[in-house]
Amino acid sequence: MLTAQVLYGLTACVIVALGLRAALLHTSLLQRVVAINVMGAGVFMLLIAVAYRGPGLPPDPLPHALVLTGIVVAVSATALALALARRLHAEQDND
């Protein structure tokens, strides 16, 4: 039964796979970070699809809180990865 929940859930699986594939294949660090963020977005879509109960009905608030926590954790990990990369490029550039 093709409801919105199933549609978004299946798309979430596709995005997770896309992100994982790119994270494993790319060698440029920045694109691997983008790939991991895309994979995270896929997992968040999975959670929000699980929370969705139908056009009029109130959704389940727990996955929303989990996704909010996930987004903040993802941005702090991205920030640390980019800072490490910048320091690494700075070291490589001047030696």
Binding site: C13, V33, R86
Partner: protein, 331 residues
Amino acid sequence: MNTTSLLVFDGLLLFSIVGLAWASLATTDERRSVILFMAFGLVLAVAWGRLLAPDVALAEAAIGAGLSGALLLAAARKQPRLLSPGSSKGSRHPDGANVSLVSRWAVTLLSAALAGTLAWALLHAFSSTPHDMLPRAISGNLASSGVSNPVTAVLLNFRAYDTLLELAVLLTAVLGIFALGQGTPGYQPAGPIFDGLVRWLVPVLILTAGYLLWVGAHAPGGAFQAGATLAAAGVVLRLAGRSRIGLPDGFVLRIVMAAGVGVFLLVGLTLLLLGRPFLGYPPAWAGALILLIETAAMLSIAATLLLAFVGGQPQSADVNAAANRQREEMS
């Protein structure tokens, strides 16, 4: 809005989301990849709105697309990486020659298999009766949680321990960035038009952040979205050439960084001393305590995201001025 037109809208939205994700990951030019990722984040925020998750839509637009995009763009190298001469210019495969064809096919098959098994498990999960035990428990206890927005209630009261650890994650990230040394020098002072916009936009952003913080108790909003909006104001200021962004220095900066975790712990431990469970707010005081924690969390989140954008300890004022003057003669 009958279901068929809703499904058409969903189809279009999902097609653009997957398309943007694919485009962002398939290109080898870093800047293009980041800009497409930001577009992906914004369309994703629309999807969250469509799935009746306004809190998450706000956070996705502000943090997922906005600030992550700003961090990534600042880190993206100006020109596309010099592709090895062998591979054709702008080849669709990520990083051309050095990833052998065999391993690329193997990984693609692995990912396809992963998508298949995930879909198989998910369809199985959706077919079983939806478990409403938790949502009912949340709405049941909402009255005594001190706020009427269920998402804020879960974040700041029922699962407050998760949020405490998440703020600790933020603190770890900023301490890790600090340990790597000085931040990047600021940007050039902005031209008259951009300066005019900044002069008008930043106060509005700060006001919106305050509004989002306050409204989080009974409507979508809250500490994370407010912190991200405040950080956006800081990023705009920095792009306009004011490298200090009004960030405090030394000890006060440390207090702001540790404010989120510190106030959370303070509240938790004092409640423990008063005989209540750790982070077990008394219903009468819950609303006020949550607002207090959210204010501190907003400051910490904004400071952390800004320091991540600056890239380390903000350089003292005179160093920035010198860097700007030196760039003046150069250009």
